[in-house]
């Protein structure tokens, strides 16, 4: 969620009204934005919609506010002055970063504040919408320094040297990726490319190394500049075109004149900024069916114009700085916003539906109730764990674990395959709590063999006299109350003391281990008292009951 900062004064000047902070806050709801903080007349907002980058600047917000306040309604269209400036696209970029859009602006002085605003929009746009510059990156230059035509090409990383922004000496493109902080940050974008993109003017002076860094020569805009050259390069033609529109509209909002730049792909030349001129079919009936309103066409038109759409014969005309409209429903939301969410009508649900949960959930809840009744404290752990806890500390081998490829920490690096280790960990961390300590947890474990989740319940009792009999009594209590017959078979399990561990069999299916914890396991968790435990596979148990007669009772 992008955050942006601008001065309230600036916003008011752009809108042409004196708005209080409170009024701004109210209007911002229409932009899905809210004020996070205010300092010395500067507002910091968080903007919720990642599909509307035009709102990531004071200019865009002002444009929307003008519509909402009736200062200027309806579709805004850019006035573009034709120029003869051209960017010639060399075929060599087609396999690296094929597209570019460009334009220039003139007629107003850039001051420190505006400079900051331009950089802010550039950063937010390239980071979020531009996917960290991979899809689109934007460069702004001092226009008078450039001799047109400009060439966009891809060159051998070691063939050209220039001084990048922030450095005092000439570097090759290869060196920039290895040594320049910005180069290092974005080097991943060009990983595996033989040639790197380069923007030079007709005197062969380097403008920039897209999408990495501008040259020191032309790429440093300064307060006092009043003619700027803008370009956007990228891997997606539409995104590049969109970037030029976003920035051109922002400059125009401030009163700059926009001059086109021709982008020449082979024999074809496109003049940018290139408007999308898109429209989408919309009718009052469609809007009413989604919002439950009774709008007439004239009302629909007026609401659309508040949000700076145009309306023409059953179509909403989409502003060129918006690419979020894929389907008429996207326009409906804007109509709803203009109408006011809180004013929209409300309707009760039409039909009654019957609520329910899964049969197994009721079964699990019964087990939990029975255990609480036996004096056991319930626990609730993370599903993420680590192999040392699950196996190392429990004296057993890995029995098939789903591991995370990109864990944040070792502690949470896999999905648990059983619950008992986590209960042992609780005991280990709670030695200062009074004994006897009796805890259980019911929850999901996930197995690598089938990637399926299973409900389990694990239980442990720890105190000076904890033993097999005690946990078997608990198991008996559960099974008796659920009228389930079971047998216990001798088995080997290294977490438990040999000869004091068994497998619980129901209807021929092994559903649990039960036993006294092995002293070495106790010592792994730093425990100084005996413990006895079981872990019961409730999914399997429930399944076997469903298919057997026992469940009928």
């Amino acid at each position: 969620m992008p955050t942006i900062t601008f001065s309230l004064n600036d916003l008011n000047q752009l809108v042409g009204k004196k708005l209080t902070k409170e009024k701004v806050s109210e209007l911002l709801e229409h932009a899905k934005a809210e004020i996070e903080s205010e300092e010395k007349g500067e507002l910091t907002l968080s903007v919720g919609d990642t599909n509307l980058p035009y709102l990531w600047s004071a200019e865009g917000i002002a444009r929307l506010f003008k519509g909402l306040l009736g200062v200027k309604k309806g579709l805004d269209k850019l006035k573009i002055e034709k120029s003869k400036d051209v960017v010639i696209v060399d075929k060599s970029v087609s396999s690296v970063r094929p597209y570019i859009a460009a334009f220039s602006v003139k007629g107003k002085k850039v001051d420190e504040y505006l400079l900051k605003q331009i950089i802010q929009l550039q950063e937010k746009f390239c980071h979020s919408y531009g996917m960290r510059r991979m899809k689109v990156a934007v460069g702004v230059y001092s226009y008078p320094k450039i001799t047109f035509p400009v060439h966009y090409k891809a060159t051998n990383p070691e063939s050209v040297k220039f001084i990048p922004l922030g450095f005092k000496r000439e570097m090759t493109q290869g060196e920039i990726l290895e040594m320049h902080p910005t180069g290092m940050e974005y080097a991943w974008i060009l990983k595996g490319c033989k040639n790197y993109p380069l923007l030079v003017d007709s005197k062969n002076a380097v403008l920039s190394f897209p999408p990495i860094i501008n040259s020191d020569w032309s790429g440093k805009i300064e307060s006092g500049d009043n003619e700027l050259f803008f370009e956007a390069t990228g891997t997606d033609k539409e995104a590049v075109q969109f970037a030029a529109n976003i920035f051109a509209y922002a400059f125009a909002e401030r009163g700059f004149k926009i001059y086109s730049v021709g982008v020449k792909y082979g024999a074809k030349t496109e003049q940018h900024p290139l408007p999308f001129n898109e429209k989408v079919k919309i009718s009052a009936d469609f809007v009413n069916s989604i919002l439950g309103t009774k709008l007439k066409e004239s009302e629909l038109k007026s609401l659309l114009e508040k949000m700076r759409f145009g309306y023409e014969k059953g179509h909403a005309l989409i502003p060129d700085y918006r690419r979020d409209i894929m389907h008429p429903v996207d326009v409906v939301e804007d109509v709803a916003i203009a109408y006011g969410y809180n004013k929209l009508p409300e309707f009760g649900m039409n039909t009654y539906t019957h609520g329910n949960t899964f049969p197994i959930t009721k079964f699990l809840d019964k087990i939990r109730e029975l255990l609480v009744g036996q004096g056991y404290q319930e626990a609730f752990s993370h599903i993420l764990a680590n192999k040392n806890l699950l196996y190392g500390q429990m004296n057993v081998e890995d029995f098939g674990t789903i591991e995370i490829a990109n864990p944040m920490t070792e502690t949470y690096s896999c999905v648990r395959t059983w619950i008992l280790p986590q209960l042992m960990e609780i005991l280990g961390k709670s030695k200062n709590a009074e004994y006897p300590q009796k805890i259980f947890e019911e929850g999901l474990v996930t197995m690598k063999k089938d990637l399926k989740d299973y409900s389990r319940v694990a239980l442990v009792t720890a105190h000076t006299k904890a033993d097999f009999t005690e946990v078997k009594q608990v198991l008996d209590f559960i099974m008796d109350n659920l009228q389930i017959k079971y047998v216990i078979e001798d088995t080997v399990h290294n977490s438990f003391i040999p000869g004091r561990v068994g497998r619980v069999i129901v209807n021929g299916k092994a559903v649990a281990y039960i036993g006294e914890m092995h002293p070495s396991v106790l010592s792994n968790f730093g425990l100084g008292v005996p413990a006895a435990a079981f872990e019961l596979n409730l999914s399997d148990l429930f399944e076997t009951l469903r298919v057997s007669d026992i469940r009928k009772s």
């Binding site: 899905k32 439950g292 039909t351 404290q377 944040m408 999905v415 990637l451």
Partner: protein, 504 residues
Amino acid sequence: MDNIKQLLNSLHPLERKTLPHLKEGITLKELEKSTGLKEVEVMRALQWMENKGVLKIKQDLKEIISLDKNGENYKKNGLPEKRFLQQIIGKKEVKISEIDIPKAELNIAIGMLRQRAAIYLKKEGNELLAAATEQGVKLASKESLEELFLKKLPMDVSELKPEDKFAYDAFKKRSEIIKTDVVKERSVELTDTGKQLSKQKISDNFIDRLTTEMLRENTWKNKDFRAYDIKINVPKIFAGKKQHYRAFLDNVRRKFIALGFKEMTGPIVETDFWDMDALFMPQFHSARDIHDAYYIKDPKYGKIDEAVMKRVKAAHENGFGTGSKGWRYKFDELRTKRLLLRTQGTACSARMLASKNVEVPGKYFGMTRCFRYDVVDATHNCDFNQTEGIVLEDGLNFGHLKSLLKMFAEEFCQTDTVKVKPGYFPFTEPSAELFAKHPDMGWIELAGSGIFRPELTKPLGINVPVIAWGIGIDRLAMFSLGLKDIRDLFSNDLNLLRKMKVTV
């Protein structure tokens, strides 16, 4: 008098044993002797009686002088100087080496005796000889102040007489003969009630614990029962109870069922497809940044229904005939199969919509564990629970969504003061956020919701409007449970689990 009787009835057996021995100023030690009880038992009896206003326990700090290691020895065997003297008296000159006194004490004895002019020494070759003086003979004939003092110990420093003081000071300079400890001495000070009570006769006709024998033989009749101090604190027990967060979630589940919702679920290990692609979140979209996921190491890819996948792919690429342009990019059929840990409960909604069992009209809810690539801290957990759901029915519109949100506000925040604001979710349009004025928490963002986009529902085979919602249940849980740290929702501290309040 009634009070005294009542008091008498309420006495514990230990108190009853102690009472007859009480008198003003009697010490704990003395009571121990006279009652024959153990020190702790007398102490408990006294404390109980103090609580009942019978007496006050006075506590004095006393400096008590007692015998130390050497002192014990000297008391038994005599002081070294005395033993020295006794061995040389009546003899002319005795070789020091022949005197039977441990070496460590020998020098002390010689020093003491010479200081008091009780002996004289003479050197003869390598040998030192000693003989008693007249003064020495006199000293040997009677008990010294020191010896008398040793016999008096232990005693209180404040009770030292002048002659004791001399011995005391002398011993203090010598090693480990006496020690002075600060000792607490407890004694009894009777209140007026206590004075009256101690004169009472204590009856035997009194029941402390009711036994089966008494019941069988009716011997309880005509006897008084000892009255308990029912206000007294009893030892804590830690019995079983549900975990606080689970109990809260159980309650949430019950509410949804009561509201007519059916529960839905899905697997923890999910594919990119169900987690995001089926929700019409484009594979390149920056909104996927906020869903930074945990990917599975092995296996990397899962299985998905190819037919559904092709339809979702078409929706991404060209809108799948929904009237949408779609996201207009090349959908990656391999990436969509990538396995990860479910990042959002909405994945379950997508599965439900695509399932053969989905009912129209229908209401569904899911309470699912989700996983995000986050540093665990006071406001983030690596896995957490999401509560989400869908309502599907022909003819539903935004007005139904609003009333649904109001119902949630009433159910979960006990309020009908709400604001519905525009929101953004990649899979709904229009999207709305519900703010509710909680009676204690104030305005909170309670839920996010919207109507699923047609590009999402149609490829999954649904042709009616679907309202989707999610409730920020963790925050409500923390508030309801009085927790400040989200990590305490799942806690592995047994003390915390035991002391957490039970919410109603």
